[in-house]
């Protein structure tokens, strides 16, 4: 098993090992079974008080991976150890106790809040479910949480539709914080927000991280946000991690052709750096029928015959730091898309 070793300075809080999440669906008149390999053998280590970024394009399985780790979607195989306990084999009551310490923040600020509940009730739900407080104390705690995320405590009896997108995202964050978690999966928390609101939410999340010692799995498609926010970054393509490295290293020295292409195609808000980029052709293939070998080879400008035969292991390479691993047959050739 290849382990992405990012646990040098702190202990690992979440350790996901070789996770596979397959969906089967029957289609057509003959009810033929299709297998969608949404996540296909991913290992991930999230150290305490660190933020691991997970980047990739739509359909690469990053959201599925985040929810599989929280056991919101059943995994086909693999294991997740959270704070020393196995998540997938936990029984109902053990899982409930675990849920108190791992939380989720959503992309969609509208759909993630029950429109029929007041925000007080929404934020109080984890407190009530885990029996953390009773009666008056619940309202007091909720007020403190709302103030903490930059809302007014007295807004408790208002409904979600009375708030703007950014404020709703703050409510979602308050709910995630209510049970004092250690680990939060942030699933594209800012991509549905306006530019001027994104930075507010990112700063809030980073303040909370420092104050409360949180660990984040930060799922995003925006590389600029990831660069700003994460300690290490894993790049996913079609259900697998293709490259994983500490943030600065990944941005300074991307080794996988896909990572390079992603960095190249991201638009930079600086007109003087316009043009002259090598643009990847084609689009992400369907996970129902992925290409053989390295899934990226049909789009890869350097593809060699071996690339369509075997899948390259995610391993560290010569000349790279030991926390930088790449899944590419050609990684040692130091090819660069320019």
């Amino acid at each position: 098993m290849i382990r992405v070793d990012t646990s040098i300075d702190t202990e690992s809080l979440v350790r996901a090992c070789d996770i596979k999440t397959y969906f089967t669906r029957s289609t057509g008149l003959l009810r033929s079974q299709e297998v969608v390999k949404a996540v296909d053998g991913v290992s991930l280590d999230i150290p305490e008080k660190r933020t691991v970024g997970l980047v990739g394009e739509s359909g690469c399985g990053k959201t599925t991976l985040g929810r599989t780790i929280l056991r919101l979607i059943p995994a086909t195989s693999g294991s997740v150890v959270f704070d020393g306990a196995d998540v997938f084999s936990a029984d109902r009551s053990a899982l409930r106790r675990m849920r108190r310490h791992m939380q989720l923040i959503f992309q969609d600020p509208v759909g993630s809040l029950n429109p029929r509940m007041t925000i007080g009730a929404i934020v109080a739900e984890p407190i009530v479910v885990h029996n953390i407080a009773r009666g008056r104390e619940i309202a007091d705690r909720v007020a403190v949480l709302l103030e903490r995320v930059g809302l007014r405590g007295e807004h408790q009896n208002r409904y979600p539709h009375e708030f703007s997108g950014g404020q709703r995202q703050r409510i979602g964050i308050a709910r995630a914080l209510a049970s004092s978690p250690k680990f939060i999966v942030c699933d594209e928390p800012v991509s549905a927000l306006d530019v001027s609101i994104q930075s507010q939410i990112l700063n809030l999340l980073s303040d909370l991280r420092e104050e409360l010692g949180l660990s984040y799995l930060f799922i995003a498609h925006d590389l600029a946000v990831v660069r700003h926010f994460c300690d290490t970054v894993s790049v996913m393509y079609l259900g697998r991690i293709v490259e994983s490295a500490p943030t600065d290293e990944l941005f300074a020295n991307p080794r996988h052709p896909y990572t390079q292409a992603l960095l190249q195609s991201a638009p930079v808000p600086d007109p003087s750096r316009r043009g002259g980029k090598r643009i990847l052709t084609g689009e992400v293939p369907s996970p129902i029928d992925p290409p053989t070998g390295c899934a990226f080879h049909p789009r890869c400008p350097f593809a060699k015959p071996e690339c369509s035969i075997s899948y390259p292991d995610l391993i560290t390479r010569d000349g790279l730091s030991e926390r930088h691993s790449v899944a590419c047959h050609l990684a040692d050739d130091k090819l660069t898309i320019t």
Binding site: L72, R99, Q107, N114, R116, V129, G150, L151, N157, R158
Partner: protein, 370 residues
């Protein structure tokens, strides 16, 4: 602390309250829907008619009856009409004793009360089964809508027939609603084999043309209003179940439900706090259309003689007897026709407007077949 919140800003700028939240009282989802509903004229018209219908049904003995509302009889004050009216409700009929001797069979209040006794009568002083000597009379001051073939006052029968329609609507859709929501909810929430079983049952039930199914059942059962209501309830729940199931399947995937699961909330909490409140409004729409259907079915059954049995009045059997005497007294046909039409229309209008009020983007015109 975060100094970048909206609240801090508006305080710092010395400007009046410019927070994104207007400084008014909070509006719940129900109130928002009601606000939008109020803007629909047709819906409000329908709602007003339903209120009138229910009001008439609840106070029928005070509008038309052969006992006085209030009278002084044999040295005591009595309110037999009010007592009759109250005793029509469940539970109250056990608490309130019948007003003796007015409720006794064969007792005729009109003859028993002398001119000197004070008495306040309903506007139409005829009971639904009280016969007079004039039969098939046209509308007059005494008989507002005339009399039928055995000399009963048609207005009185119409008013008391309202009770049947309202009861059928409420009770049958109550049964259908409970069954439909329950089966729809378990199918939608649990999925897998539960869904498969419930869906097959629904498919089987809707295979039968429901009016004829009800007819067949009514042949075996004693045709009375209770059986009519139960049978309609037992056959009309499928639409509600399918709708509930669909809503649950849709809502189950929403992020706020995922959030509740991530918090460790159990099935009961998720269903009762998250799924049902969000599904209820659209389910009410289908129930509203269902009431209209139930009223029609009951009228149809009574017309065919399988529903409410004469001499008890219902719009259906009033129409039947009017039909039999169409040549002699054509005016008898119109009241039950118009009443059935308006009752069905009212529920459909309310259903339509409620649907628009829930989802303002949809401007539905057609009626949903439930």
């Amino acid at each position: 602390m975060v100094d970048n919140s909206a609240t801090t800003v508006s305080c710092a700028t010395t400007v009046s309250c410019t927070t994104a939240i207007p400084c008014t009282t909070t509006i719940s989802y129900k109130r928002r829907v009601w606000r939008r509903f109020r803007t629909h004229r047709r819906g409000m018209f329908g709602l007003a008619m339903i209120v009138v219908l229910v009001g008439v049904a609840m106070t029928a003995p005070l509008i038309a009856g052969n006992v006085p509302i209030l009278c002084h009889y044999q040295g005591a004050w009595q309110a037999p009409g009010v007592v009759d009216c109250l005793r029509r409700f469940p539970i109250l009929d056990r608490v309130i004793p019948p007003s003796y001797p007015f409720s006794k069979a064969g007792f005729d209040a009109k003859e028993a009360l002398s001119e000197d006794d004070f008495s306040l009568w309903p506007p139409v002083a005829y009971g639904p089964s009280e016969t007079t000597r004039v039969s098939l009379a046209g509308p007059s001051k005494r008989h507002w809508l005339g009399t039928d073939e055995v000399g009963r006052d048609v207005f009185s029968r119409m008013v008391h027939g309202t009770v049947v329609s309202v009861q059928v609507g409420i009770v049958s859709m109550g049964i259908a609603g409970v069954l439909g929501i329950f089966f729809g909810a378990i199918a939608g929430y649990f999925g897998r084999w539960v869904d498969a079983v419930v869906s097959r049952v629904i498919e089987i039930v809707i295979c039968f043309p429901d009016f004829f199914l009800i007819l067949t059942v009514m042949v075996w059962l004693e045709p009375n209003i209770t059986n009519v209501m139960v049978v309609i309830g037992l056959t009309r729940w499928t639409g509600i179940a399918r709708y509930t199931r669909g809503e649950f399947l849709r809502l189950k995937e929403m992020d706020f439900v995922v959030a509740a699961r991530a918090n460790g909330a159990g099935a009961a909490r998720i269903v009762l706090r998250h799924l049902l409140p969000n599904a209820l409004a659209p389910i009410l729409v289908t129930i509203s259309f269902g009431v209209a259907q139930a009223i029609l079915i009951e009228a149809g059954l009574s017309w065919l003689g399988f529903g409410v049995q004469p001499p008890a009045p219902s719009w259906g059997n009033l129409l039947r007897s009017a039909y039999d005497h169409y040549r002699d007294a054509p005016h008898l046909v119109y009241p039950p026709c118009i009443a059935i039409f308006l009752a069905v229309l009212a529920h459909n209008l309310v259903g339509d407007s409620l649907r628009d009020a829930i989802d303002p983007r949809v401007h539905a015109t057609g009626k949903v077949k439930v």
